[in-house]
Symmetry: C2
């Protein structure tokens, strides 16, 4: 459906918009996200939106001139969803970064898309409230991107992903019209769930310019357990034992030995000396300590050692091991961050299958995982000058997907399809589903100007 943009169309758009940059360095920075994917070119320009009107005007002109627009927030995506190349114009919404309001009584916040995830929690903490979706990148990722990818994080096994915490959205459509989705009440079923349709659509259906977030009471009590295991299989068994004990940890994170060593090297910690696999578990709420005891009983048969703490400082240190896992691995080489989901009981099988992929392909794979919801991040690490989108890394990515599929799982638990995983999407969702998705895309964006080639 997309006609190729003419240079004159791009130029006309860039001339007509406010706050445009065509600086080559800025364009190069705006061509990539944190996926490691490097497009063949750089975008023709960047529009820095400073108001909803700027977004409206940019998209109106983009429709007029048939210019492919790549929406961009903080640029921390892990699937190439905001990667941009020659012929594209980047619509950067990071300056739309106001927390518009916080309603502590109703437990809601209204924010612009450029607000960072961590900023929401910093601003709501004084009311004893928190915003539950917490990607590892919380300090640097923005709400717009969280919505685009339906971001998850460590707390979402208990508190749900972005979809469960975004009540309503204002979205600028491809033609510049403003759509309101969802509502400001906790429940509501009037009409189709366009709010859920926008969430996770990776900027292909519209550009989010405002989100009403559901906040939750911050648990008064949190209890933290760190357990070390002789091998990943034992840790996976322990994670299954926690699920089987029918408790609901707020956090249940798995880290393998190789990743622990990388974290230790970066942070000066000693995790890897205590075992070759690690589980971090937090229970929270009024029953945190009681639940912690049940959790410890469940994992004791499998663990080398168990540390428990109610001290917030020590708990934060332990959580930091997980939060720093990705940066620590990035010191070792170029990293492609896998994101497969499997049924929770298949965690051990998934870890074993990843080891077999390494054995077959020679590609190094480190593993961290949100064990409570079966979402693994297998980290393919190649040399700093090697490709993560071609060659052995791509072979390993494909094998990972087939592993997930064989175990009854999914290609992507929370990062999105972006550009990196397009090749396997149809195999997962089926041709009928993909065909319907393409038709829905055409309903929202008949000219195909919004983040073309991404997501679906």
């Amino acid at each position: 459906m997309t006609e190729l943009p003419t240079d004159s169309g791009v130029n006309a758009l860039l001339t007509a918009c406010r706050n445009v940059s065509t600086d080559p360095d800025e364009r190069a920075r705006a061509s990539i996200d944190r996926s490691g994917y490097v497009p063949g070119g750089i975008p023709d320009g960047i529009v820095y939106a400073e108001s909803v009107d700027d977004v409206v005007e940019t998209l109106r002109l983009a429709s007029l001139y048939r210019v492919p627009i790549v929406p961009r927030g903080a640029g921390t995506g892990l699937a190439g969803g905001s990667a941009a190349t020659a012929g594209n114009v980047v619509l950067d919404v990071s300056r739309l970064n106001r927390i518009i309001s916080i309603d502590p009584v109703e437990q809601q916040a209204v924010v612009q898309p450029g607000v960072l995830n961590a900023e929401v929690n910093a601003a709501t903490a004084e009311y004893g409230l928190f915003y539950a979706p917490d990607p590892a990148s919380t300090a640097i990722c923005s709400i717009g991107g969280n919505v685009a990818t339906n971001a998850g994080g460590m707390w979402c096994a208990k508190y749900g992903v972005t979809r469960e915490s975004v009540l309503s959205l204002q979205v600028v459509l491809a033609d510049g019209q403003i759509l309101k989705t969802g509502r400001n009440t906790i429940k509501g079923v009037s009409g189709y769930d366009l709010n859920a349709l926008i969430i996770g659509s990776e900027g292909t259906l519209g550009v989010v310019v405002e989100a009403t977030l559901r906040l939750r009471p911050k648990p008064l009590h949190t209890a933290t357990v760190a357990a070390y295991f002789a091998n990943p299989a034992a840790a996976a068994q322990a994670a299954s034992a926690i699920i089987a004990a029918r408790i609901q940890p707020a956090i249940l994170e798995f880290i393998d030995g190789g990743t622990l060593a990388a974290v230790d090297a970066m942070m000066g910690t000693d995790h890897s000396s205590r075992g070759n696999a690690f589980l971090l578990a937090q229970t929270d709420g009024y029953g945190a300590l009681l639940e912690q005891q049940v959790l410890i009983e469940a994992i004791t048969p499998f663990a080398l050692s168990i540390e428990q703490t109610d001290d917030d400082g020590r708990a934060a240190e332990l959580v930091a091991a997980r939060r720093n896992a990705i940066p620590a691995l990035q010191l070792l080489g170029r990293v492609s961050i896998g994101d497969i989901g499997v049924p929770r009981k298949r965690l051990a099988d998934a870890v074993q299958g990843l080891a077999e992929i390494t054995a077959r392909t020679g590609v190094k794979i480190f593993v961290i995982a949100h064990a409570a919801d079966g979402n693994l991040h297998p980290m393919v690490v190649v040399g700093h000058n090697e490709s993560i989108t071609e060659g052995p890394a791509k072979v390993a990515l494909g094998e990972m997907f087939h592993l997930a599929q064989r175990l009854g799982g999914t290609l992507t638990g929370e990062h999105g399809i972006g550009l990196l995983k397009r090749d396997w999407l149809e195999e997962e969702v089926g041709s009928l589903s993909l065909e319907l998705q393409k038709k829905i895309k055409a309903v929202f964006d008949p000219l195909g100007i919004l983040n073309p080639g991404k997501g679906i």
Copy 2:
């Protein structure tokens, strides 16, 4: 888009399908749900599907002959969503009532649409698991209808609505193709969220023939509080105080004095002698008793009396007051069950506004509410021979909607639009949203044969 069906088309379909009934009594029963809505006619026939193939074949023929199909489960809808009239053929899926599998380790169940909500919980209880969405009609409503309306219930403030507990679906599309939506993992973001799009679409996008449900660990501990108040305003203030105390009750139900009297008359209980408004609160989990204490402290300033119990039998009696509210009111007259949602902090304003509607219109309105999520069920009660879709009852319904809208709320929290609320949908969601929804409907059902005129 729909061409009028020819009688010969309907006849051809009814002749070609298995398990067809044209019995007038059965057709009359299949023309209504529990909304009180009475269509002008009755459907031409009923196809009782006994297999997925039966559904496929029926829809294939319906597309061929352009026959409007009204999908029907247990017929307990409260908005006319499964009402059927002359020219319609009802596709009854209530015989697709097998629990296909329960996986206690992964905490999932795969069920057919005709399985009753309560049957899921009966079957999963032995594993210590439960299915969280629990409409008051749990004993008689089926999973297919729960999916069609994105049903809620008493537990959903804490555990989420149907959308949060349905992982994947098999859906037969209008042309007979089988679509799989969602996935069997807790998280997953591959492609658009068609699963959420189908959930709550009131049978207008496809017919659900299988659902994979997420089960949750049944809390080991539950603590119940029943509190009585001098008036509804005091009860609403108490509900707000509970939210402000930043605890998360599993159940928080409001019942007004008139409803209490009706329940007492039916059940032989004495609730109405103890106050003119009632809150039922349950906390659950390892911290249930601690949370209960905080809850009691929060409501004490507002209550006439407070009863607390950890006894399951007594708790069930108290919960029964809520579960029997609708049948009790139905003994008083014909009931139109409102379903507005408001921000939780506006509960008292909503109750006050409903009293004003009664004063203005002379229409009796009783109020029960899921107070923890601001979902009120204002019950319009008219004489057994009066209309609930025309005259004063309709005026009251319209005023209710505008009250909800004025308070920042919604027309329907969990029952759906069906036929009863179509007149106000566009005003709530806006013309742009409705236009997009109609285009999405056309993507799934280009001939417009699926539950025409319902929902959107």
